[in-house]
């Protein structure tokens, strides 16, 4: 038990450090980066809940992020702006305007509900078939977002979403996400799901219900994604369906894979490391572009770096930086070793 509490304390401590660092520096940009980092934590931890414990790669995650973002947006855009922002909106919702704090939760629930319905039959599949169907699911969700103009304003940018996500709200959500991901991992369901990850046949022979376990984790994962998406929407305040497709998928997956999908610690470390490197590179990219060293804008350096890093990690450290043991566990083991000496 102590080691779980230790893990929780260390990881939430890291979040607190990020918040304090950003606040004391009193640089607006840093605060933005820190807020974004906390939102990414919610999203990446969401993917960790499913992928880390089930061992199955899911491409659909940012699709549920999109569902969350659009749900909360539709319910919170001020009534007077709705005519402009969402001209095709169903009349029932036209007069509706709810508190964002409620709709962020609703967003998570809607994403979870959609996940529950569409994923139930998919959870029997493993390996390549599972990944291709999750990819197909992402394409379906994206196509729907792109064309369901009643709710999403089609491929056009949706604007007018109230800005409510600040650093504290995002950090609070991230802390909750850490606690929830850890709790799930150590719960009855989490342990059983991890047995199916390590050996599906042996898990079945013990009596584990493989599809149901995966299903529950997938729903939970979509809940995180929906909340994360809504937080992101209320942070960025305008977006289009493009924001919830392969590029975003790549970043979230990259963070998880580099940190280590098998542990909550890995997910958190992954987000921290990739964010730091990304922001550094982005700053350099910005400087280069400002100096107009090249005739065209320099773009894509961050993605190329992330891609190379992912490949390198998978070759040299296939489980990611933190593969099997949580940080609390690692610390306590080290302390014990020292005592023995």
């Amino acid at each position: 038990m102590t080691r779980h509490l230790m893990t929780l304390a260390v990881l939430i401590g890291l979040v607190v450090l990020v918040v304090l660092g950003a606040e004391f520096a009193e640089v607006r940009l840093l605060s933005r980066i820190a807020t974004n980092l906390c939102i990414m934590l919610v999203l990446v931890l969401g993917l960790q809940v499913f992928m880390g414990n089930s061992g199955i790669l899911s491409f659909a995650h940012v699709g549920f992020m999109g569902i969350g973002a659009y749900t909360s947006a539709m319910l919170t855009i001020p009534v007077q702006m709705k005519g402009m922002a969402l001209p095709d909106l169903y009349p029932v919702f036209a007069g509706l305007q709810m508190s964002p704090y409620i709709t962020i939760l609703i967003a998570g629930l809607v994403a979870a509900l959609v996940a529950a319905i569409v994923s139930y039959p998919l959870m029997r599949l493993s390996d390549a078939a599972a990944v291709i169907t999750s990819f197909a699911l992402l394409v379906v969700l994206h196509t729907v977002m792109l064309h369901w103009s009643e709710v999403t304003n089609g491929p056009r940018t949706l604007f007018g979403i109230p800005r409510v996500t600040n650093l504290y709200l995002a950090a609070g959500a991230a802390a909750l996400a850490i606690a929830a991901a850890l709790a799930f991992k150590e719960s009855r369901l989490g342990i059983l799901l991890r047995t199916t990850r390590d050996d599906e046949v042996a898990a079945g022979a013990l009596g584990a219900h493989v599809p149901n376990l995966r299903w529950i984790a997938f729903i939970l994962s979509a809940l995180f994604a929906g909340i994360g998406g809504a937080l992101w929407g209320h942070f960025i305040t305008s977006f289009s369906p493009k924001a919830f497709y392969l590029k975003e998928t790549f970043v979230i997956l990259g963070m998880l894979v580099i940190g280590g999908p098998g542990t909550v610690t890995g997910a958190v470390f992954g987000v921290l490391i990739v964010t730091i490197v990304f922001e550094g590179l982005r700053a350099i990219e910005g400087l280069v572009n400002q100096a107009q060293l090249f005739s065209e804008q320099v773009v894509g350096v961050t993605e190329i770096t992330l891609a190379l890093a992912m490949i390198a990690v998978l070759i040299f450290r296939p489980g990611g930086l933190v593969a099997t043991r949580e940080v609390g566990d690692l610390i306590l083991r080290r302390m014990k070793l020292r005592e023995k000496k």
Binding site: R188, L192, T195, D198, A202, A208, G262
Partner: protein
């Protein structure tokens, strides 16, 4: 045969036209150890797989006590108290020993707290408690085998089917395993079915032996009668070798 035995009745299994099991029957009484032997490819592992639902039957039925197991999934069969081990050890390698054993209790529907207590108790009996937090993937082979058996036992099975538990063990490990298995049936009132190639182990352990060859039962009975049974000798050695007894 009592009414609470594990009864495999007249089962057949086919793989793409090939008959792996051809009308085989057997039973295991609670508290008894049955040895299942036979040359390579005779269908022993298939019989365990068929009993636990890993491969579909093309005929026959399987029952345990009053429970009908025919056509159930491996999961349902496991929940009815039939546990098994695999020919190649299948532990959850990225999880700790404690989690491996605990998961088995959880899969039976036990709560988190009870499962943990049961797992600790079982690991204590197997002298693995001080290593409970090690990752299963890092164990040596003999210990992996013992964890696998501990994992099966924590589910309190009525019947335990072991597929070559001593394969790849050295003599001292085998000896340790033998002592462990010998007391199980009485201590936990379960029926034990065991496949192994180590004949001395089978001889010392089993109350009864059944012999398969080419998917059929060719002999069954007590250990000494089976050993001298001409059909068994032929299946193992070929026909023209004289039998020394």
């Amino acid at each position: 045969m009592s009414s609470n035995a594990l009864r495999v009745t007249d089962i057949s299994v086919e793989f793409s036209g090939l008959r792996a099991l051809d009308h085989v029957s057997l039973f295991v009484e609670p508290g008894e150890i049955l040895g299942l032997i036979g040359p390579n490819g005779s269908g022993k592992t298939t019989l365990i797989n068929a009993t636990t639902g890993q491969v579909p039957l093309s005929g026959g039925s399987v029952e345990a006590g009053d429970d009908q197991l025919t056509g159930l999934s491996p999961r349902e069969i496991a929940r009815l108290g039939i546990a098994r081990s695999f020919q190649i050890v299948r532990l959850f390698n990225a999880m700790t020993i404690a989690e491996n054993v605990e998961a088995s209790a959880l899969a039976q529907g036990e709560g988190r707290r009870q499962a943990r207590l049961a797992a600790r108790e079982m690991l204590g009996e197997f002298e693995l408690l001080d290593r409970a937090d090690e990752l299963a993937g890092n164990l040596n082979y003999g210990d992996k085998r013992r964890v696998e058996i501990a994992r099966a036992l924590v589910a309190r099975p009525r019947f335990l089917l072991l597929d070559e538990p001593a394969a790849g063990m050295n003599e001292s490990e085998t000896e340790k395993l033998l002592n462990l298995l010998a007391i199980l049936p009485e201590q936990r009132s379960l029926g034990l079915l065991i496949i192994d190639h180590d004949m001395p182990l089978i001889m010392r352990l089993c109350h009864r032996v059944q012999v398969l060859a080419s998917g059929k039962t060719i002999a069954s009975g007590d250990v000494s009668s089976v050993r001298t049974n001409p059909a068994v000798v032929e299946a193992y050695l070929g026909s023209s070798v004289e039998v020394h007894t």
